[in-house]
Symmetry: C2
């Protein structure tokens, strides 16, 4: 497996910069991202029409975002796209990036996370989590 | 809505830096990320045990990653986590970040994307797409 193929999470600017060089130089781009752990959660609220409940969940996630091991976070809602393969039935999405799996494991038991579950879990009826690590 | 609450996609380093300052200074952090569009696709292969099919899909995604409007991409596989709420039945995940919805729309009709679908769609039995934009 080449160094390039092990690189799976890159900014396009670094890719373009690397592509301007000979192939061996591709290894210059962020090799250390190969351990990145992506934790993507989709929440279905019990009362999806309740602006108040949505606000409570978002505020809970904003507090939750202070967990130290979180590298990046994103609080989303369904985009204005609609095709057969798109699931836009969820209320809120919560995407986190961790440096590695150990940091994600630590997040799961962080008191801030436990408190979020305690304060907010009554708001949702369903949660789906997709955890992913590098496939290449 | 405060400037802080409109900021929803941030690096923790910028957050920590901002947190060290008074609250009004939080607005210094990446405001221009609020338009970010996240396109997360999960693929279920027809032959999930086939290393060859998985390799073909990954190679297809690597070619697909050259679409110019893609800011960041991530080719993932299920992590080694297992709880009731986690769906780890997919084969490959494909997470893209676009600067905004217009860039995502452009990606959908990009010849490189159309060619990927032509070359690789026979490999999967199911796809779920979650598109999200800022909720805050």
């Amino acid at each position: 497996m080449s160094k390039l193929s092990r690189r799976n999470f890159v900014s396009k600017s670094s890719l373009v910069a690397a592509a301007a060089l000979a192939t061996p130089a591709m290894a210059l781009a962020a090799q250390d991202d190969k351990d990145i752990f992506i934790h993507h959660v989709y929440f279905w609220l019990k009362n999806p029409e309740s602006a108040e409940d949505k606000k409570k969940l978002i505020e809970g996630l904003q507090k939750l975002s202070t967990v130290k091991t979180i590298q990046k976070f994103y609080i989303g809602k369904p985009a204005d796209t609609n095709r057969d393969v798109i699931d836009r039935s969820y209320s809120i999405s919560w995407m986190l990036m961790f440096k590695n799996k150990a940091d994600q494991d630590s997040y799961q038991v962080d008191p801030i996370h436990l408190n979020f579950v305690k304060e907010c879990s009554s708001l949702w009826q369903k949660v789906i989590v997709y955890d992913s690590v590098s496939a290449v």
